[in-house]
């Protein structure tokens, strides 16, 4: 029996459970038709997403003053009036639908107060108090509140963003053949790291370490302005960026049976 188009897409995007993924990959190795369809799907996606990128423009500049004024209610949108259509899915419905129990997920967000997630990184502390954005905006508006000390381990499917400093290392722990590291150089201020599946991010000395579910796709954005950012996997440096430029002396460094490494400098 062949893989249906939904299965091919899910396999392409790393959305399958590890055992299901292994089963389908084994099928691809033995079925030319499905292997061809998978390759077609990959090529089609690259073409479609490449075309969509033609629409992109830089966002208009946003100042902290603009955001403060808006948050303080000086400028903003009113709630939809009685005559205006409502979208079929409200944010509250999303809240109900996205309620998840279980260890390792966003359990900390549910605590009303006093729970925070933080990254201690080379002297920079990122704090997420019980209502983190509210506290952050309050401080932004100069209504001071002490920030709680928070643990330095976060399990977050969305990702993290931190300042690189002068010398920054991202270490991918326990990554293997089924994982993919996609690295881009971007015009941004922060090192940004996301994982398509569950991952755990830990602060390290002048860096960040990350481990996650197998078959993960990690997306690392390296700021062009960062003086030095190293990427380690399998105990070795696999990429090094100096002011956004991939160092020429890092070559063939992806360890055997290691992750697929894709770099777009």
């Amino acid at each position: 029996m062949h893989i249906d188009e939904g299965g091919i897409q899910a396999l392409l995007h790393g959305e399958l459970a590890p055992d299901e993924s292994s089963r389908l990959e084994a099928h691809l190795r033995g079925c030319r038709e499905c292997a061809a369809r998978a390759e077609e799907a990959r090529a089609e996606e690259a073409a479609v997403f490449g075309a969509l990128a033609l629409l992109d423009v830089p966002p208009p500049p946003l100042s902290a003053d603009d955001l403060r004024a808006r948050a303080a209610g000086a400028v903003g949108h009113g709630e939809p009036g009685p005559g205006e259509a409502r979208a079929p899915r409200s944010a509250e419905a999303v809240d109900r639908a996205t309620e998840r129990a279980g260890p390792g997920r966003w359990a900390g967000w549910r605590v009303a107060a006093g729970v925070a997630l933080a990254f201690v990184l080379a002297g920079s502390l990122y704090a997420f108090p019980g209502s983190p954005v509210r506290d952050a905006i309050d401080r932004l508006l100069r209504r001071a509140d002490p920030a709680p000390v928070v643990p330095s381990v976060v399990t977050d499917p969305s990702g993290v963003a931190v300042r690189a400093g002068e010398d920054f290392t991202v270490t991918f722990e326990a990554v293997g053949e089924g994982d993919t590291l996609r690295v881009r150089v971007v015009d941004a201020e922060l090192v940004s790291l996301r994982a398509d599946r569950r991952a755990t991010f830990r602060s390290a000395s002048a860096g960040l370490s990350v481990s996650g579910d197998s078959g993960n796709v990690y997306r690392l954005d390296v700021p062009r302005s960062a003086p030095l950012v190293r990427v380690r996997a399998g105990g070795r440096v696999v990429a090094e960026f100096r002011s956004g430029v991939l160092s020429a002396d890092v070559s063939g460094a992806v360890p055997p049976r290691g992750p697929v490494l894709e770099v777009r400098p």
């Binding site: 995007h13 959305e15 073409a47 629409l55 944010a91 809240d95 954005v133 506290d135 952050a136 920030a147």
Partner: protein, 169 residues
């Protein structure tokens, strides 16, 4: 900059660029995209407690704001110019330079995207931003198990619309 400001900045830097890019591609209007994206962050601030998945929450709110703005704009157009139907764009004067060719390619992509049903458009653009199936399902009210199939169909529909206009990949 204190800890709270760093935290908010980290959240903003992690989510704003992809949210703006998604809204710009969805709306074709960079100013509107910036407006609804920023407003979504303000709504996050006003919300009691934090959502479990800020990414999905933000894109849902921003998309709702966009629909409201679009519907309001459509009603205003009808009231002001009842005789006018769909938006009409004049073709630019022919000129063989790169800028015009690039604009032609952008317009072709825009038209192909606009030709898709709204749900197909949203699925395609959300996946292009790297949102996971669970986040797409939550944002659009879908069964997560159906996202792969719907995505395949959306990509096919876009490709056919784009190629049908004479812009093969």
């Amino acid at each position: 900059m204190n800890e709270g400001e760093r935290a908010f900045e980290a959240l903003f830097h992690a989510h704003y660029p992809r949210l703006f890019r998604y809204m710009n591609r969805l709306s074709g209007d960079p100013e509107l995209a910036a407006d609804v994206s920023q407003e979504a962050f303000v709504r996050l601030y006003r919300r009691p407690g934090s959502p479990e998945d800020p990414g999905a929450w933000l894109v849902t709110v921003a998309a709702n704001l966009f629909r409201n703005a679009r519907n309001k704009r459509a009603r205003r157009l009808r009231l002001m110019t009842p005789a006018r139907g769909a938006r009409v764009e004049a073709d630019p004067p022919p000129a063989p330079d790169a800028a015009v060719l690039a604009e032609g390619s952008r317009r072709a992509v825009r038209e192909a995207l606009d030709a898709l049903p709204e749900r197909d458009r949203e699925i395609l653009l959300l996946r292009a931003e790297g949102y996971r199936y669970r986040e797409i399902a939550d944002a659009l009210g879908l069964n997560e198990a159906s996202v792969g199939t719907l995505l395949a169909r959306a990509k096919r529909a876009f490709r056919e619309a784009h190629e049908g206009a004479g812009h093969a990949h």
